[in-house]
């Protein structure tokens, strides 16, 4: 499990990332992990560049870093 901070645009009250992009199935624990939490106020449901913490696998976070619509800020844990 790893975490990184990104800047993500919001559209209609949702961040421009999907569960498929970050949720991971852990075969050892037979459970899902991963998700996001905003790290700053979201004042507009279509706000751009919202700072969010994303938790996922290193592999999925690496893919997210290459997604054109998000901006990687820094890695936090698990790298």
């Amino acid at each position: 499990m790893a975490s990184s901070i990104f800047l993500v645009d919001y559209n209609d009250g949702l961040p421009d990332i999907t569960y498929e992009e970050i949720i991971v199935y852990d075969e050892e624990t037979e459970s899902l992990y991963g998700g996001w939490s905003v790290l700053e106020e979201v004042e507009d449901p279509n706000q751009e560049d919202v700072k969010i913490m994303v938790v996922s696998s290193v592999e999925k976070l690496t893919l997210l870093k290459s997604k054109p619509s998000v901006i990687w800020v820094e890695d936090i844990e698990g790298w």
């Binding site: 949702l14 106020e41 938790v55």
Partner: protein, 534 residues
């Protein structure tokens, strides 16, 4: 440190332990030194001689062995509900525990770990791994209080961003007795911390909830939603769930909601003719059903009827033939979807319409071949989805057991609701399929603040902890006592002054039990602690 002049008057028969560290002791010599002024001899583990008593403090210096080394344990006391342990600490690195232990080695069993070295506060209960319950900063003085329950403990703090005594966490597990009052170093061997005092007063006290409901009777709380149903900590009974929402009823001692549904908004939901529907690749309408043939993930069959963005809907459809793949309902966009369905059957799920008025179905996995019939979409009434009560508290720690959760629905807490009859501003914390979500709704417009995966367990507890901080609500969510995601903030004027809290459910198969709500402390509910912990 207290002024010595007043100590004889202050401590007379009021304390089991009051170690104010009045007499200096060199590192390596603290073991068996007497607590001063009250508390018997100190039992110390300090292999590297990194603990000293100096200038009124227990001083933890860098180079300790690790967790609980160095540490001080005092004479054991029986576990009683309401036994309070106060401490005061600050430092520039690492962290220190203050609280209780079930033995005299290693990590303490029931304690608060102030760990400014990595900006966290951990609550340790019943020897479990520390739960992240707050944030701390270096060179900041914190007063702590751990209060034992018949099982588990409450955890309070004051200092830094916690400008009043603040309830951080509560747990109900762990009944071991006796307990050893204790202070000690965290696992951080670079710890540089002082502890000013540890105090165990004779007085017993447990906070009382402002709402507690075990749902033995309808619409008025019974006070049985938390463990302290007699004696210290009793409370929360007689609170009226107002105004009464008749869709919320008690079934076998559990609270359930059976929301009413409006009229079906789907046109040609029985696929009688090949009309109305916009069919994506792989979809056809034939023989009175919608057929997906080797359809790719993301392919939709949709229509744009009178769905309203922001309204919660209930969708029902049948998979009448199945070969491979999976399909989901969709509520405006492909990502706002129900659970994946991959077998013949009739399915019902609920969700909130977002982005567009489109409704329909979406292929969820590649190469899907199946048939669907009888798609029905009906609106729910938002006010019926909440079962709430009017309190006088803005920020609270609200906990509920979700004893049954139906995948495809939503169940959890509503907090800081503006109006039961015309809700438009509120916070939702809820289970939604495989995720726990935090949404805010401001003037009817929703924004998702957090979505994090979780694994449902029967009778699992969902907790929302809100804390008012300079006009902003800091929101933490716990499932089975584990922090889910990160703390999020809400400052919207329509929300941050509201004092209505309660339950949220979109389907009658979701069941709730043991709902309890405690004030967090921003209104100085726990300020009397300062009469003991100066």
């Amino acid at each position: 440190m207290l002024n010595n002049t007043f100590l004889p008057f202050f401590i007379d028969n009021k304390y089991i332990i009051y170690d104010d560290f009045l007499v200096d002791v060199a590192a390596g010599s603290v073991n068996n030194s007497p607590a001063s002024p009250v508390g018997g001899n100190r039992n110390v583990t300090d292999a590297n001689s990194k603990l000293s008593i100096s200038s009124g403090n227990a001083v933890f210096s860098t180079g300790g062995v690790g967790q609980g080394n160095p540490a001080i344990w005092y004479s054991p006391i029986m576990r009683l509900g309401g036994r309070m342990c106060f401490g005061k600490t600050s430092g520039s690195a690492g962290g220190t525990y203050i609280g209780f232990d079930t033995d005299t080695s290693g990590q303490q069993s029931d304690s608060l770990l102030i760990r400014p070295g990595n900006n966290t506060i951990l609550a340790v209960s019943n020897n479990a791994a520390g739960r992240n319950v707050g944030t701390s900063a270096i060179n900041t003085t914190y007063k702590t209080c751990v209060i034992t329950r018949g099982g588990g403990a409450f955890f309070f703090i004051k200092g830094g961003i916690y400008t009043t005594w603040t309830l951080l966490f509560g747990d109900i597990s762990g009944t071991t007795t006796p307990l050893y009052p204790s202070i000690g170093q965290s696992s951080d061997t670079n710890t540089v911390m002082n502890i000013d005092y540890i105090i165990i007063p004779q007085v017993l006290w447990i906070p009382s909830p402002i709402m507690s409901d075990g749902f033995s009777v309808a619409y008025v709380s019974d006070g049985l939603g938390h463990p302290e149903i007699v004696g210290l900590g009793v409370g929360g009974s007689g609170i009226v769930w107002t105004p009464i929402a008749t869709t919320w009823t008690i079934s076998s001692g559990k609270m359930i909601n059976t929301p009413s549904v409006g009229s079906d908004i789907v046109v040609n939901g029985s696929f009688t003719t090949d009309t109305v529907w916009v069919k994506g690749a792989g979809w056809t309408i034939t023989g009175g059903v919608a057929v997906a043939t080797s359809a790719s993930a993301g392919s939709n069959i949709i229509q744009s009827p009178t769905a309203t963005i922001g309204v919660w809907y209930q969708t029902t459809f049948s998979v009448t033939a199945y070969t491979a793949g999976s399909v989901t309902s969709r509520y405006g966009t492909g990502t706002q979807a129900g659970p994946t369905r991959s077998a013949i059957g009739t399915y019902t799920d609920t969700n909130r319409q977002i982005s567009t008025t489109e409704i329909g179905l979406r292929i969820a996995s590649g190469n899907t071949t199946l048939s669907v019939d009888n798609l029905i979409v009906k609106p729910l009434v938002l006010s019926e989805l909440f079962h709430s009560f009017v309190s006088s508290k803005i920020d609270v720690m609200a906990t509920v057991e979700i004893t049954n959760y139906n995948i495809g629905s939503q169940a959890g807490h509503v907090a800081n609701l503006d109006s039961k009859s015309s809700p438009a501003n509120f916070i939702l914390v809820y289970l939604d399929n495989a995720a726990i979500k935090v949404d805010k709704c401001v003037a009817g417009t929703y924004t998702n603040l957090a979505s994090n995966a979780f694994t449902y367990s029967a009778n699992g507890t969902l907790r929302v902890h809100t804390r008012l901080d300079s006009g902003s609500l800091k929101i933490r969510v716990y499932y089975n006592n584990v922090l889910i995601g990160s703390e999020v903030s809400v400052s919207d004027a329509g929300i941050v002054s509201n004092t209505i809290h309660g339950l949220f459910s979109t389907m009658n198969s979701n069941q709730f039990d043991n709902y309890n709500v405690y004030p967090v402390g921003s209104n100085n509910e726990y300020s009397w602690f300062d009469t003991i912990a100066v």
